[in-house]
Structure formats: C-alpha cells, structure tokens
Symmetry: C2
Subunit: 204 residues, 2 copies
DNA sequence: GTTAGCATGTAAGGAGTTACATGATTTT
DNA sequence: AAAATCATGTAACTCCTTACATGCTAAC
C-alpha cells in the first residue's frame, strides 16, 4: 500500500525471498550486507517485521528448536504479496534507488532482476555521483580563497573515492552490456579508459 | 552542559570559530564540508542554531545588508563559552570521534588542534576500520557457502574502499609523526609499505 | 520571463538508536 | 568462571528530512 521505499524493508524482502529466516539471523545477514554503513539494531528490525506482518508481506511460524530448552524462534516467510512487492520494488527504479544505502541493497539482489533494471540503477548511481563531483568542484572554485590544508586534503580524498566508484560503476556497466556478467579481473581500479569526471555519458 | 557529541553542533562551532556567519552561508559551508554523505537541511540547521543560542554557545546579531531591500540576515558569532566548548570537544577524543560523520568534521578542523589529538583521532579511526575489515572477513568465511556474485562484488568493492582509507590514514599518521604536515604528493594511493589489512599497529 | 540563488523559519513525520528486560548455551 | 552468542522484544528519545510558508534579486 504505502509506496515508501524504505531500504530496510526491501532488504528484508530480498533476504526472505532467498529463504525463510528468524529475526536474529536476518539481522546478521543484514549487517553483513549493509556492513559498511550502519549496523541495524533489534529496536529497528523487530518493529519492522511486525509492521510487515500487519501488511501481510510476511508470515510467521513459531519454531521450537531441537534442544527444546532453547528459546523459541520465530521464522518469517514471504507471502505471495511480499514476493510481488519485492519484484515490484526491484523493477520500479526511482531516484531513491541510487542513494547510498538503497543502492547497496538493490545491488546485492541484482541476480533477481533483469538487465534493464540493473543498467538503470548502475547508470543512475553513476550520474548522481558525477553530479556530486561537479557540484563540489564548482563550489570549491568559488570558495577557493581560504583553503585549510586539512579540509582540502579531506576533500581531495573524498573526491578520489567517488571517482573510484564512478570507474567501478563504468566497468560494471560495460560488463553488463557486453554480457560479461562481472569483471573477473581484480585490477578494476586501473585506468580503464572511462574518463573519470567530465563525461556525462548520456543514458539511453 | 549536555555532553552529547552531536556532529552538527561541532561543525557549527568550528565554522563560527573561523568567522561569524549567517545561517544560509553556514549551511553552504557545512554541505561542502560533509559533502559526501548527508546534505544538511534548514529544518535541521535553524533549530540547532536556536538551541545553541539558548545554551549561550553563540550570539546573534541582526544585520541589514547593504541593498537595504534585501532580507535581514542573522549573523551568529561564538561566545567565550562556545569557543571553550569547541576547544574541549576537539581535545576530548572519545570513540564517537572515529564515526564517519564525526571524523570528517574533526579532520576538517585539525589545524586548530594539537598533534596528540590529531594522532589519537587518526589512529582511532584506523583501528576502527581495521576491526570492521576483520569482522566482515571472519563473517564471510563462516557464511561462505551461498555467495551471490553481485553481493560478493559489492563486498569486495567495499573492502577495497576501506583498505584504501586505511592506507590513507597510515600515510597521514606517518606524515604527522615525521613533522611533515601533509603528504604533498598526489600519489598517496600507491603501495606505501603500510600493510593493508593484517597489521594491528598497536597504539600508544 | 523564468530559473537559480539568497534568506529564514515551522510542523509533521520517518527511520533509527540506546537502554532496558530476560534468560539459555557455547566457547575461551 | 567469564565472555560471547543465541534470541526476542519495548519505550523513550534523537536527529534529521520533507513540505510548507514567504519573498526578493541576479543571471541566462
């Protein structure tokens, strides 16, 4: 019903689409998946699960694990609605799809989407990063007077990181287009011919 | 009074410590500084300023800009309390100091701290990143069975980014220790001898 | 003339965290 | 014997975003 993108929910849908799981395990997988940003807390996960339950996206089943003395586990499983919702969310590529968190989650589930959606997400993200680079560069030119050494160094490092991600995305995009699903080469980081900053690489 | 680290507040203190400014300009500088993560909205900045005003960290002065038809601007200036608070916050290097956002802000203001504080922040951040790497690596080894191609590629890219930042930090740390304030060389990214992942580089 | 930038704010709401509550089991 | 991990949850709170409200000025 609600068209809220809500990254956590998408992640849960995707993980449960692979296989049913209980909350604790879900959190572990989630943290591994998002890993490099936030670490999701129970105070966030459990209420999300309850909400999804109310929305009939998932169903619960209480399971008593074999050494029966252990705490009960509640295993969650996708409903047909949930599965449909996941498919819809993955193909509806809106501008939220290229935000840091959301991008990571979508990327993780790329195997379960079609080429077209993948390309739209990859290209959308790349465009967004390139815009960020341009904006920061023009702003730096205007404010160039008082440049603190450290502030500048941080800026430089940030830019390099973003440029690196742009190259990574460009490599992935070519790989997708060539039908080569993944650059099987570890040296993705080298100069790949993709001009780092300037190219606007107009999309389809 | 409140010992809340609150990154936004620290950033405002630091910027106003450089020179008085009005809200709009503050936001621009803030966005340039944090730039690569969030972009701060007015709905966040103005209430923060009001709060800091109530806490007597800053003072306001209404200024009518020269083409008098323009909107009034409210210029904020640090009080002595505010200046003291900034100095205290910058030297009190707690574990929050190596969180992404907070780290960036502190780093930007490094010129206004002593060598010791700088080293503690840099080393703290490096240790934290190395812990993250180790945790993810051990977890990957345990969950290694069902490795989705895309999920794995994202993981790999994330790891490389973090390793890159660790090298960057290591270079900065050596530079600080050698009295060379900054690696004036652009090729910081190359192999610098700093072993990427394994070294725990026990701190002082 | 219309878009972008200048300039300050408020109200409602979203997404998540920390701390609390509880307790068994496995590893070191 | 202590520490980590398994396991589920709630209440209070924080920080931030979006949308609204208002209006002028510079650049294209």
């Amino acid at each position: 019903m609600s068209r809220r993108a809500e990254t956590t929910e998408l992640a849960v849908l995707g993980l449960l689409d692979e296989s049913p799981m209980h909350g604790y395990e879900l959190r572990k997988r989630l943290n591994l998946m998002l890993g490099w940003g936030r670490v999701l807390s129970y105070g966030s996960l459990y209420p999300t699960l309850k909400r999804m339950l109310r929305a009939s996206l998932i169903e619960e089943e209480v399971v008593s694990p074999l050494p029966a003395t252990r705490r009960l586990r509640i295993v969650y499983r996708l409903t047909d609605d949930g599965r449909a919702q996941f498919a819809r969310a993955m193909s509806e590529v809106g501008p939220t799809a290229w935000e840091d968190e959301s991008f990571g989650v979508r990327f993780s589930f790329f195997s379960r989407t079609d080429l077209e959606s993948r390309l739209r997400v990859l290209e959308g993200r790349r465009t967004r990063l390139q815009e960020r680079l341009e904006r920061v560069q023009t702003q730096l030119e205007r404010t160039q007077k008082e440049v603190d050494r450290y502030a500048e160094e941080l800026q430089r490092h940030g830019m390099e990181s973003v440029e690196r991600e742009v190259r990574w995305l460009s490599d992935l995009i070519s790989a997708e287009r060539n039908g080569t699903p993944m650059p099987r080469d570890e040296q993705t980081t080298r100069e790949t011919g993709s001009s780092t900053t300037a190219t606007t690489t107009g999309e389809s």
